[in-house]
C-alpha cells in the first residue's frame, strides 16, 4: 500500500529502464501519441482475436470497439468537467443523457410517424440543440438546491433524480399525458425510434439499403462488397466514427481551454478547497451551477451522439444507473482531472473491460470441446473442471462485471489517481511542486 501511494511512483520522472519503457515514456509525454498507441494496442489485440474469421469480422470488431471507445470518451470528458475539475460527485449521468436523447427524439420525430410516438418534426440540428438545452436545464434544476449538500448527499440526489427521470420516461401515464397536452410522446416502456443518422444519408440515398449515393458507390466499390468485401453497414459505421472523432476533439479542446481559463482555475480551486475559493471572493455557488449546466449539456450531447445514432432507445435498460457507473469507472481509470486521461479511460474501459471480455470469452468457448452445463449448480455438481470452464466462458457477462468491480476496487486501493492521475492540474497557474535538481522526496 504505502509504496504504491508514495509520490515517487509516478512514471514520468523516472529514467526508462528498457526500450519499451522508453517508448511508453515518450508516448506519455505526447497526448496524441498516447491515445494512438493505446488504440493501436487495442486494434492489435482485436485483430489477433478475430483475424481467422476474415477481414469483415476484423473491421467490424474494430468498428464496435472504436465506436464504444469514442462515445465513452465523450461521456467521460463531460463527467470529468464535473468530477475531475470541480469535484461535483454527479452520479446521475444516465438521467441527463436520457433527457438529451429523448428531447432530441421528440423535437425531430415526425408529427405523424408510421409507428411510435409523434414528435414536432423539426430539423435535426434544432433537436440536438434542444436536447443539450433541456439537459442543461435539468442540470440547473438539480444544481440550484443541491450544490450546498455534502458530496455524498449530492451523489444520492443526482442518482435519485436520474431514476425519477428514467421512471418518468418509462411511464405510459406520462406518455399519454404528453400526447394529450403537447401532441408528442415518449413511447413509454417500448421506447422511441431515433431519427435517421445523417451519416447514413451521405452513403445511401434517403438511407435506403441498395441505393448508394456517389460517395457511397465509390466507398462501397473499393472497400465494400464490390471490393475488399467489408459489409456496407460497417463502412457506414466507420463514417460515423469519423464524426464522433471530430466531436471528441471538439470536447477535448473545449474542456482544455475551459480548464486553462481563469474560470477553470476557479473550478480547480473549488475542487481543492471550497472554503478558500469562497473566502477569496469567488461566487462558488454561481460557478458550480454554471459548470454543472455546461457539463449536463455535454452529457446530453454525448447521449445524443451515442444512443441517438442507434435506431431505438428505451429507458430500461439503456438509461439505468449502471450506465453512470460505467462512465465513472472510465473517469477513474483515466484519472479524474485529466482530459487526456478521460479520453484514454473511455477507450480502455470500452475495449478492455466492456467489450473485450465477452469477445475473449466467446473465442475461449470455441476452443473448449464440451457441452455447456445449463446452470452453475449442474457445473459444480458434475465436478468436472472442463464443464465449469465451459459454463464460465459461456456466461462471461456476469464475470465481466465481477472483473469490472475488482478493477475499480484495485484502482481505489493501489492507484486512486488512475492511469494519468499524476497529471491532475492544480489550481495554481505555475507548478508548485517543481524542485531543483530532481531530488527524490523520501
Amino acid at each position: 500500500m504505502s509504496d504504491a501511494t508514495a509520490p515517487d511512483d509516478t512514471m514520468v520522472d523516472r529514467e526508462p529502464d528498457s526500450a519499451l519503457a522508453a517508448v511508453l515514456a515518450a508516448a506519455k509525454r505526447s497526448d496524441l501519441g498516447l491515445v494512438v498507441l493505446t488504440l493501436g494496442l487495442i486494434y492489435l489485440g482485436a485483430t489477433l482475436l478475430t483475424f481467422t474469421d476474415g477481414l469483415n469480422s476484423v473491421v467490424g470488431l474494430l468498428r464496435t470497439l472504436t465506436f464504444l471507445g469514442l462515445v465513452y470518451a465523450l461521456s467521460t470528458l463531460a463527467l470529468n468537467l464535473h468530477w475531475g475539475y470541480t469535484g461535483l460527485f454527479n452520479i446521475g449521468v444516465a438521467g441527463f443523457m436520457a433527457i438529451g436523447v429523448y428531447t432530441m427524439g421528440i423535437v425531430v420525430r415526425s408529427p405523424d410517424p408510421a409507428f411510435g410516438p409523434p414528435g414536432f418534426g423539426l430539423p435535426l440540428p434544432v433537436g440536438i440543440v434542444a436536447g443539450m438545452a433541456m439537459a442543461s436545464l435539468f442540470g440547473l434544476i438539480a444544481a440550484l438546491p443541491a450544490l450546498r449538500l455534502r458530496a455524498d448527499y449530492f451523489a444520492i440526489v443526482t442518482l435519485g433524480l436520474s431514476e425519477i427521470i428514467r421512471l418518468t420516461l418509462q411511464s405510459s401515464t406520462f406518455d399519454t399525458a404528453l400526447r394529450e397536452t403537447l401532441g408528442v410522446g415518449t413511447g413509454g416502456g417500448r421506447g422511441m425510434g431515433m431519427p435517421q443518422n445523417p451519416v447514413r444519408g451521405l452513403f445511401l440515398v434517403d438511407g435506403r439499403a441498395g441505393d448508394p449515393t456517389a460517395l457511397g458507390a465509390a466507398v462501397f466499390g473499393t472497400l465494400g462488397e464490390g471490393g475488399l468485401g467489408i459489409s456496407n453497414n460497417i463502412l457506414i459505421g466507420w463514417g460515423y466514427i469519423l464524426v464522433l472523432a471530430v466531436f471528441v476533439v471538439a470536447f477535448y479542446v473545449l474542456l482544455e481551454r475551459l480548464g486553462r481559463s481563469p474560470f477553470g482555475r476557479t473550478l480547480k480551486a473549488i475542487r481543492e478547497d471550497e472554503l478558500v475559493a469562497d473566502s477569496l471572493g469567488k461566487n462558488v455557488d454561481l460557478i458550480k451551477i454554471k459548470v454543472f449546466m455546461i457539463g449536463c449539456a455535454l452529457m446530453g450531447l454525448a447521449g445524443i451522439l451515442w444512443f441517438g445514432s442507434q435506431g431505438n432507445v428505451s429507458p430500461s435498460p439503456q438509461f439505468e444507473p449502471i450506465l453512470t457507473f460505467y462512465i465513472f469507472v472510465a473517469v477513474i481509470i483515466g484519472g479524474s482531472g485529466s482530459n487526456t486521461g478521460s479520453v484514454l479511460g473511455g477507450i480502455v474501459f470500452a475495449a478492455v473491460l466492456f467489450e473485450g471480455p465477452r469477445r475473449v470469452g466467446a473465442v475461449l468457448r470455441d476452443t473448449i470441446d464440451a457441452p455447456t452445463p445449463p446452470t452453475f449448480g449442474d457445473a459444480v455438481a458434475a465436478a468436472d473442471p472442463v464443464g465449469l470452464l465451459a459454463y464460465a466462458t459461456d456466461n462471461i457477462a456476469p464475470l465481466q462485471f465481477v472483473l469490472l468491480g475488482l478493477v475499480l476496487i484495485f484502482i481505489m486501493h493501489r492507484r486512486p489517481d488512475g492511469l494519468l492521475g499524476d497529471r491532475i492540474e492544480t489550481a495554481a497557474a505555475v507548478d508548485l511542486t517543481r524542485r531543483e535538481g530532481g531530488e527524490r522526496d523520501e
Binding site: D152, V157, E163, L167, T173, G377, M412, P416
Partner: protein
C-alpha cells in the same frame, strides 16, 4: 420534540420550503379525507374505499418494516465507517439467495434433488409448489432460512470488509463510496453467475393463507410473519445497542470516533460488530422481502438500494430508530401515493420525498440523533 417545533409558525417562516411542503401535505390529507367521505369539492375529493386505503397502509407498513430493517445496517455503516455503502443492496440479495437455499433444503431435502434446492431453483426442474415453502406448511424451514440469511450475510459482510475496506480505513468517504460500487458489482454478478439471471417464484401457495380481513384488508400469513420477524429483530437490535457494552461502544464510535478511540474502545472489534449486525440485518431483510413478494431475482437488492437510502436519509443518517421510521414513511409513500398518482410513479414519489428531505432538512426528519 423537535418534530413538533418544526411545524411552529416561526420555524415555517424561517424555512419557506418546509412551509410549501407542509401546505402540500395538509392539502393531500384534506383530499384524502374528502375522498374517504366520498365528497367532491372542486379538484379535491373523489371516492376511495376504506378497504383500499387500509390495504395500501397495511402493505406500506409491511414493506416499510423490511426497508427499515435493511436501513439499520446502512445507517450503522454510514455513521460508524463514514461512507455511503452502495453494496448494501447486494448484501440484501446475498441474504435472500443463501437464506432461501437453506430454507428450501430444510423444507424438501428428502423429496427433491439437492442441487435444485441449494441453487434456489436455478438447477433442475422443480416447481415452488413441489418444494412447498410456506410459513403455514413449513414454519421450521422458514425460520431456519431466516437465521441462515442473517448468519451467512454477516460472514460475507465481514469477509468483504477484511478484503476490500480494511486496507482503506484511513481514506475519505468518497473513496470508500467508489470502492463500494466496485464491491456491489462483484457481489451482484457473482450472485448472477452462481444462481442465474432469471426471476423465479419462491413461495408455494397454501389454502387459508389469508388469516384475517379487518375492515376488508386482507392480512396474509407471510405479511404477519414479516411484521413479527422484522419487529423482533428491531427490538433485539435496540437491546444490543442500548444494554450491551458492545452496543455502547458502537454508539460511542458513531457519535465521536476520536473520543471513542481515546477512551480505549477497540475500534476494529466495533467495526467487525457493525458489519456482522448491519450485514446480518440486510440479509434477513432480503430474505423477508422475498417472502413478501414470492419471487427472487439476482439484482432485486440493487433496485431496492435507493429506497433504503431514502429511508436512512429520511430518518437521519446514523440513527437506527430514524432508519426504521424512515423505512415506514418510505413504505407508506410507496403504496399510498397510488391514491393520487399512477403506480408508474410510486418509486419516483419515494425518491422525490428523499430528495426533498435532503434539500430541506439534510439532518433527517428526526434531527440527526446519532444511533441513540
Amino acid at each position: 420534540m423537535e418534530s413538533i417545533e418544526l411545524l411552529s409558525p416561526a420555524a415555517l417562516r424561517e424555512h419557506p420550503g418546509l412551509a410549501v411542503v407542509a401546505a402540500i401535505g395538509l392539502l393531500l390529507c384534506v383530499d384524502l379525507l374528502a375522498k374517504l367521505a366520498g365528497l367532491q369539492v372542486g379538484p379535491l375529493g373523489g371516492s376511495l374505499s376504506v378497504a383500499r386505503l387500509g390495504s395500501n397502509l397495511w402493505n406500506g407498513l409491511v414493506i416499510g418494516l423490511v426497508i427499515g430493517l435493511a436501513g439499520i445496517g446502512l445507517s450503522m455503516t454510514y455513521s460508524i465507517l463514514n461512507f455511503a455503502n452502495f453494496s448494501h443492496g447486494d448484501l440484501v440479495s446475498t441474504g435472500a439467495f443463501t437464506g432461501w437455499g437453506v430454507a428450501f433444503v430444510v423444507a424438501a431435502a428428502g423429496s427433491q434433488p439437492l442441487g435444485a434446492l441449494v441453487t434456489v431453483r436455478d438447477a433442475g426442474d422443480v416447481t415452488p409448489g413441489a418444494i412447498g415453502a410456506h410459513v403455514l406448511s413449513t414454519p421450521g424451514a422458514i425460520v431456519v432460512g431466516l437465521l441462515a440469511a442473517f448468519a451467512i450475510t454477516a460472514v460475507v459482510s465481514l469477509a468483504i470488509d477484511r478484503a476490500f475496506y480494511k486496507p482503506m480505513r484511513d481514506r475519505g468517504g468518497i473513496a470508500l463510496l467508489i470502492t463500494s460500487v466496485g464491491v456491489a458489482l462483484v457481489v451482484r454478478y457473482l450472485i448472477q453467475f452462481a444462481y442465474g439471471a432469471d426471476r423465479r417464484g419462491i413461495t408455494a401457495s397454501v389454502d387459508g393463507d389469508t388469516l384475517a380481513t379487518p375492515l376488508g384488508v386482507s392480512v396474509t400469513a407471510h405479511q404477519l410473519t414479516i411484521a413479527v420477524a422484522a419487529i423482533g429483530l428491531m427490538v433485539a437490535m435496540h437491546y444490543t445497542l442500548q444494554r450491551t457494552k458492545l452496543g455502547t461502544a458502537m454508539r460511542a464510535m458513531a457519535d465521536n470516533k476520536d473520543l471513542a478511540l481515546i477512551t480505549g474502545i477497540p475500534a476494529e472489534r466495533v467495526v467487525a460488530a457493525t458489519w456482522i449486525l448491519g450485514g446480518g440485518l440486510a440479509g434477513a431483510s432480503g430474505y423477508l422481502y422475498v417472502l413478501l413478494r414470492g419471487t427472487i431475482q439476482f439484482d432485486f437488492g440493487w433496485s431496492l438500494l435507493l429506497l433504503i437510502f431514502a429511508a436512512v436519509i429520511l430518518g437521519g443518517i446514523g440513527s437506527i430508530y430514524g432508519a426504521i421510521a424512515g423505512g415506514l414513511v418510505i413504505g407508506l409513500v410507496f403504496t399510498t401515493s397510488t391514491v393520487w398518482i399512477s403506480s408508474d410513479f410510486n418509486a419516483a414519489a419515494a425518491f422525490a420525498v428523499m430528495i426533498l428531505v435532503l434539500l430541506l432538512r439534510p439532518e433527517g426528519l428526526f434531527g440527526g440523533v446519532s444511533t441513540a
